[in-house]
Amino acid sequence: MSDVAASVVSIQGLTKSFRTGVTALADIDLEVAPREFVSLIGPSGCGKSTLLRIIGDLVTPTSGTVRVNGKSAHQARVDHDYGIVFQDAVLFDWRTVARNVALPLELLGWDRGRRKERVAEMLELVELTGFESSRPWQLSGGMQQRVSIARALSFDPALLLMDEPFGALDEMTRERLNLELLGIWEKAESTIVFVTHSIPEAVFLSTRVVVMSARPGRISETIEVDLPYPRNAMTHEAPRFFELVTAVREALAAGHGGRTYRDTAPAMEER
């Protein structure tokens, strides 16, 4: 991690075209400062998941520069500068909860004792102490996703990339996990880039909401969320919360050719 308070993510003039000729992303410029919580929101096919994967060096851009922690995205990946959480927990069935959380630590060559200690800390953070030796399939969807978050944070990455992490969960679980995520974000002092389909979720969580439009995927507007932290259940009822939700909805509608934007069902993003 660099001491300089430079951007954690710095993207300039990024475009991504697929071999099929489809332009997934065009002219993307984005800076994410340390400790920020940035949500990417937009209709299906706006390339928000692709953008997240480009930051993580899982997809290579066609042109433009991507710097993560002041390094190339590739170097950042090799240096384990980020953790990633997908829509599904993507836990390994053949490992216990504890060994799932320890997976990145094994790859980093941590010794057994240190791994065990850290896994205990992480499970405490996501409130799953006591489930160390459970199998993933014995847990509920929400618990599985918490394991996945613990795994992503276990090696203390500067950046957390989250691709619709709560999209497959029911509304009540989602709201509870939103609150927990904010708590974790504050404790872990990490920077988060968060892809979502849900406007209230984006507003509730973020310091900044990046609104994208489709065909080609562009950033159409960036909305600063000036709601104070710590946010809680009351935040959902604050007038300012509704104003910001409306602002994001209008930005989405504008980017959608003026049509009314409806919160689309979590569909598969293009890869």
Binding site: L58, R77, H80, F92, D93, L107, L108, R135, W137, Q138
Partner: protein, 289 residues
């Protein structure tokens, strides 16, 4: 289906008893069907599709009795030479099974890492199985025999030839079966190919591998039996089958008894694989085959 970790111990006894009851019931029904068919055809004198008498369809109790009777006057009871033969064939089958499974899995690991090799080699892997084993067996036995390899080892190579194919084909699928996002996850950690192989591909492939191993377990027994024939190996079940075939009209029960031993050997190997699977796989209940 059976061994969910959440399940309590006492609950397990009931399904086990139920299984045993089903097994006995099915056995009784099969027994009854055989004897019923024999009785009906014999008493009516029907000869379609074949003549039924004590030579074509001996009584099951006669077959079972044959185990206790010596084949040649004054010799040991049939069960003794049959068990010796079964042990001999089991050795060949087991060696072939291990050899074939190891080769098949190694081949799959190589092929999933190179699309070029997979496209280039897979057709030949498939073609290898369209060649009748009876045509290959003499070549293997004579070829290896000229290099001074013992007969039973050559036979185990033939068993391996039947074993490697299902293992290779299923392992290729299994090694590719993990969720694409699991691969992305490993990439996000900049995991090496080796690490992805051991921590993701191989564990994900195990259910597929065990399915293949169950097929291969029985196939290896057949490979060993068939391999003994052209090798003129007299010590195994293949030798016993050839031998009793010649005296079938005189002593049909000896061949049937041998068949039972062959089937039992296949079942034992199958059971060992199923046991290993149960011990090694801790999967979601819907994945437990």
């Amino acid at each position: 289906m059976t061994s969910v970790a959440v399940e309590r111990r006492p609950a397990r006894i009931v399904p086990t008893l139920g299984r045993l009851a089903t097994f006995v019931l099915v056995l009784a029904v099969l027994w009854g069907a055989w004897e019923g068919y024999k009785w009906l055809w014999e008493s009516t004198g029907w000869t379609w599709p074949f003549l039924v008498d004590d030579t074509t369809m001996p009584h099951i109790h006669d077959i079972l009795n044959a185990f206790r009777e010596p084949v040649t006057a004054g010799g040991p009871a049939l069960i003794h030479p049959l068990l010796d033969a079964a042990w001999f064939t089991a050795k060949e089958a087991l060696a072939g099974f291990v050899l074939g499974a190891a080769f098949g899995f190694a081949l799959a690991v190589v092929l999933v890492h190179s699309r070029l090799l997979e496209r280039g080699l897979l057709p030949y892997v498939v073609a290898s199985q369209t060649v009748p084993i009876l045509a290959i067996a003499p070549m293997v036995v004579i070829g290896l025999g000229s290099k001074g390899v013992e007969g039973w080892k050559a036979v185990s190579v033939i068993a391996a030839y039947l074993t490697f194919f299902p293992v290779a084909v299923n392992s290729i699928r299994g090694l590719k079966s993990a969720d694409p996002r699991a691969f992305e996850l490993m990439d996000s950690y900049a995991a090496s190919r080796w690490s992805i192989l051991w921590r993701l591909r191989v564990p994900a492939s195990l259910p597929y591998l065990f399915t293949a191993l169950k097929i291969s377990a029985t196939a290896s027994v057949i490979g060993a039996i068939i391999g003994e024939t052209p090798a003129s190996i007299q010590d195994g079940l293949g030798g016993a089958i050839v031998n009793f075939n010649q005296y079938y009209s005189l002593q049909p029960t000896a061949l049937w008894a041998t068949n039972i031993v062959c089937a039992a050997l296949g079942l034992v190997l199958f059971g060992l694989v199923a046991l290993a699977e149960r011990l090694m796989l801790h999967r979601a209940p819907e994945h437990v085959a």
